[in-house]
């Protein structure tokens, strides 16, 4: 138990003293995850909308696979990305392994299915509202998707936030592809794993609390900015 209190006070102390290492890895965490989030959203949100509006044949299969891929084991993603980016792999020439870029790639792969799944579920309801009208107006698929994405933007925020949470807390994949190299690819979660291995649980927890506090702060700011929970729904 003392580790728990030790962790809390250490977290507090590091935060108020703006510990340089902490600031560095926190900013790197944010940079990697936000970049991954933007890229993943650009892929996943339209994909969710597409699945909502299109009745193609393998739609149900796609959805089930997407749901299953929400559970992609990060280590496996890490391994596959590692193999692809390693010098003997197909994309080895770009020298991306053990760079933040590699971590972004892995995170994108991990959160795309999650964001797309949640987005699809949110947009499915909206689509069942809009279905008749939009079909009647002879809209193109692109127009339907655009309309859903725009009018459903509040719900999509939840999807994106879920993706953010997943990515910022992820360690298995980015450990493999980033390598947790000090001052280079070390982020909050890999630092936590490292301190855990060292047996310095208090420091690991302190970093964990910082991570959680940051995730809560991001969520609160976004909820507050967009007033998601206000009555008028858009």
């Amino acid at each position: 138990m003392s580790d728990l209190w030790g962790g809390l006070s250490q977290a507090f102390y590091m935060l108020v003293s703006l510990d340089a290492d902490l600031v560095e890895i926190t900013l790197r965490s944010l940079q990697v995850t936000l970049t991954a989030l933007v890229i993943a959203s650009l892929i996943a949100l339209p994909l969710g909308a597409l699945l909502a509006v299109r009745r193609f044949r393998i739609r149900r299969l796609t959805i089930a696979v997407l749901n299953a891929l929400m559970g992609l084991p990060p280590v496996v993603v890490g391994l596959i990305v590692y193999i692809m980016l390693s010098r003997s792999g197909p994309f080895g020439v770009f020298g991306l392994l053990f760079t933040p870029t590699a971590m972004i790639i892995a995170q994108v792969i991990i959160i795309v299915p999650l964001i797309a799944s949640i987005a699809h579920q949110a947009l499915r309801e909206l689509w069942s509202d809009y279905h008749d009208l939009l079909i009647s107006m002879n809209t193109t698929h692109a127009q339907r998707m655009k309309t859903l994405l725009w009018d459903g933007r509040r719900a999509l925020l939840t999807a994106a936030l879920a993706g953010f949470g997943r990515a910022i807390g992820e360690v298995g994949a980015i450990m493999v592809v980033g390598g947790n190299i000090d001052h280079h690819t070390r982020v909050l979660t890999t630092a936590i794993a490292l301190e855990t291995g060292k047996g310095d649980f208090a420091l690991a927890l302190a970093l964990g609390f910082v991570l959680i506090a940051m995730a809560i702060a991001v969520n609160l700011v976004i909820h507050w900015l967009t007033q998601t929970e206000k009555e008028g729904r858009w």
Binding site: L126, D129, Y130, D132, L133, I135, S136, M137, N138, T139, Q143, T147, D151, G232, R233, W234
Partner: protein, 237 residues
């Protein structure tokens, strides 16, 4: 623009979850007039309109326009029995169909304001459409359907929630649209309205066309006992 009519319906049918909603229907619609679809609740009026408009999946038979299908689809509009409100302002709801066809935002909004005025929503422009009253929603749906000046307009009980004044205004709008060449196909439970507007009547019963004819003949001397009973507000067997 090529001619859309005649619209030829041959043995068309909509089935959903094993139940026949409407059909088989054989029908030929000519270019002019206002066709009024009437019949008891659950007779299949909504289903028939959707079938003609092409948004119901056709389980059997055919619905054929004189022009090619893509063009036909572009030139129609539909006012639903329960209007669908986009989660946007009244103005943006009205502008939406124009924006779809590539009209720029400024022009579309200006047009939207004109139509808001026409349907009596002039002072609700910036309100969220989802906060409108029942009657206001119907007005919005009507304006949104007319704003693209469709050649064929389907209306499913468009005046069910309108007050007397609004009903009169809407009927005037519809009549002038019909005079300007828009083909109207609508359903209603208001026999007064049916008499005032219809040039032709389709009487549905149990998903089938039970009777059909020019409005005058139908209302003054219905052919069948069922139509007579329906018009009297009696049990229709």
């Amino acid at each position: 623009m090529s001619a859309m009519f005649p619209l030829i319906v041959e043995g068309a049918m909509t089935r959903r979850g094993g139940k026949v909603l409407v059909g088989p229907v054989d029908l030929r619609l000519e270019a002019e007039g206002i066709t009024m679809v009437i019949g008891p609740n659950g007779a299949g009026k909504t289903s028939l309109l959707r079938l003609l408009h092409g948004i119901a999946r056709i389980s059997a038979g055919r619905v054929t326009w004189a022009c090619d299908e893509g063009e036909a689809r572009r030139r129609q509009a539909f006012v639903f029995q329960t209007p669908v409100m986009l989660r946007r302002s009244v103005r943006d709801n009205l502008a939406y169909p124009l924006r779809l066809t590539g009209v720029d935002r400024v022009t579309a909004r200006a047009q939207a304001e004109v139509w808001a005025e026409k349907v009596g929503l002039g002072d609700a422009l910036t309100r969220p459409a989802t906060a409108l009253s029942g009657g206001e929603r119907q007005k919005l749906a009507l304006g949104r359907a007319l704003i693209r000046a469709p050649d064929v307009l389907f209306l499913d009980e468009p005046c069910a929630s309108l007050d007397g004044r609004a009903m009169r205004d809407v009927e005037a709008i519809l009549r002038s649209a019909a005079e300007a060449g828009t083909r109207l196909v609508m359903s209603t439970h208001d026999m007064g309205q049916a008499r005032r507007l219809a040039s032709e009547v389709v009487f549905l019963l149990g998903g089938k066309i039970h009777d059909r004819g020019p409005a005058d003949t139908f209302f003054d001397s219905p052919n069948t006992a069922q139509a007579r009973a329906f018009l009297r507000g009696d049990i229709v067997e």
